[in-house]
């Protein structure tokens, strides 16, 4: 269990975290959402002791992250920051091997190598294992970082915007992977996500932050409501239920997608027998 108590932090005079309190239960996938600058990354950094907060404490199970040793924490909690710029000449496999550092201190055992290979397999990285990081696309590099985190094989995994740079396919398979790690391996996973629909589809728990405070938290059903989202994002988002999953239609402010110019272009708008509006399929297009 992650327990955050009364954590406050400031940069210069700006209050970035204000008396944040939070408990995150074991084995759940929690998403943290909120606007840019809400303090999500700072909170994650404090929890993973990359930043020492001005006040407050963070416990991972029974360990106080500020006082427990380097080894104890790094074998229990892995964290990936939002932006990683590494200047060292690293290949993918070199990077993933660093995930074993908490255990091997750089001298890898056969068991370490096995876990590294598993992580590479799992993120489809075997074809790239000997590429240098600067020879990869942004998404491939992001997957390499996540493979390193998986190789660290910790009970707690904290990822700051892990879907950065990932295409649709890899985004959804990343979320599926994380979901499974929570369900099957009992891992506790905390993500910062920008796409509320990914948060809605995959999380057990959503924590919404605004101006350095946790203003609301709950299940996706509790959070994915027009009034709640308005408070969190300062934005009018229509929420639609799709077979029990709640989706926020944030691409068009305040409204479901309507019969705009596209619909007119596509052809006639008709009504089904139950009265739902139906837009005719546009003329087919050839896919090579």
């Amino acid at each position: 269990m992650i327990t955050v108590r009364n954590v406050s932090h400031r940069y210069d005079k700006q209050v970035v975290l204000n008396e944040v309190g939070l408990t995150l239960p074991v084995g759940e996938l929690t998403s943290i959402v909120g606007a840019n600058g809400a303090g999500k990354s700072t909170l994650l950094s404090v929890v993973s002791r990359l930043i020492k907060p001005e006040s407050g404490t963070v416990f991972i199970d029974d360990l106080d992250v500020q006082t427990a040793g380097d080894d104890a924490i790094s074998r229990r909690l892995a964290v990936l920051r939002q932006d990683n710029r590494i200047s060292a000449r690293l290949t993918v496999v070199d990077l993933v091997r660093f995930g074993r550092f908490p255990y091997s201190k750089g001298r890898l055992t056969p068991e370490d190598h096995r876990l590294v290979d598993e992580a590479l397999d799992y993120l489809d990285l075997q074809p790239f294992r000997d590429r240098f990081l600067d020879q990869l696309s942004g998404g491939q590099r992001q997957r390499a970082y996540i493979a390193m985190i998986l190789a660290q094989d910790t009970d707690y995994i904290l990822l700051d915007e892990p879907l950065n740079n990932l295409d649709m396919k890899h985004s959804s398979s990343m979320m599926t992977l994380l979901r499974r790690a929570a369900d099957e391996l009992g891992k506790t996973i905390v993500l910062v996500l920008h796409d509320i629909n990914f948060a809605s589809c995959y999380s057990d728990h959503i924590v919404a932050m605004r101006d350095g405070e946790v203003i609301v938290q709950g299940t996706p059903t509790q959070i994915m409501r027009r009034d709640v989202l308005r408070e969190v994002f300062d934005m009018d988002i229509h929420v639609q239920d799709l077979n029990g999953v709640r989706l926020g239609i944030f691409w068009t402010t305040g409204a479901p997608v309507g019969p705009g110019p596209l619909a007119a272009e596509a052809g006639d708008t008709t009504r089904d027998e139950d009265g739902a509006r139906r837009v005719a399929e546009p003329a087919s297009i050839t896919i090579r």
Binding site: S45, R49, D70, L80, A88, R89, G99, E118, E184, L185
Partner: protein, 347 residues
Amino acid sequence: MTTLQSLRERASARGQSATRPAHTSAEEARRRRRITVTLGILAVLCLAGIIAYLTYDVRGSWDYAMDLRGRQVGSLVVVGAAVGASSLVFQTIAGSRILTPSVMGFDALYLLVQTIVVFFFGGTAFMMMGVGERFLLNTVVLTVFGLLLFRWLFGRNSRNLLVLVLVGIVIGSLFGSLTSLASRVLSPDDFLTLQDVMFASFNTVDGALLWVAAAVCAVGVVALVPLLRYLDVVDLGHDNAVALGAPYHRVVTLTLAVVTVLVAVSTALVGPMLFLGLIVANLARQIIPTHRHTELVLGSMLVGVLCTVGGQFVVGHLMDNGTTLSVVVNLVGGIYFILLLMRTVKL
């Protein structure tokens, strides 16, 4: 502790494990072999350079030439190795390929410390000390000041590269001015002493000092060895290193201490060579494409030796001392520094 076992089974169910390479792929093995070969070639070149330096165009007494040139080449090797090792690891802990100890004003600090020591102890007392004790006193004082300087520089939140470079330059010229101010209020005798200490050149290397320097340098390099695998992680940046459980601050502090000692050694022997470390460390990183500091530091030391011995061979033997090594190094290195800055920092 859980494992990724079940995740792996799924992966193999998708048929990826069938072709899974061994822990080290052929490509990786080939790359590592090439690095070993590169290091071997560098070592051979260094040896060849040393022999060439010793034996080129000896006129008159061989004994005399060997003694003099032996001391010269000895100090060149010590300086090259010290500068190579210290600059490379400094780049790592500074998280920048542009920052080296000299660029951050370290050489200037050394001269300032020398001046202050002469100022307070007096030139005569200073010279009465054995050359080794004097050197050790300098090194201790410099280590303390150096650590304070670097803690102050890197302890702050802002790690803007351009700001750090500017701070380094400002500190360098500030220390330079303080040095010349202090040397002006010295008595003429003390001033001569100071000049002697500050600009010891290779041509007249003191044998005893060389041995002390070589010993201190060796201790410094040996002290680096247990830090090397931690430096590999520190090279990933503060956040990744801490997340992976590396004792980041301890590694940085210990490395800084070693760097301070190594820089003191080389500056004591031949005076400041502002851009030598910058050239050597970046060249080493270019020809040895790895993140492993064991190989990087070794390579950087070899490149350092090659640059100093080779450079002095050209300047001293071929050009017949028409100029000095530090002038050449600063000219070449200065241009290189500006190119690096322009490439890294969009002004």
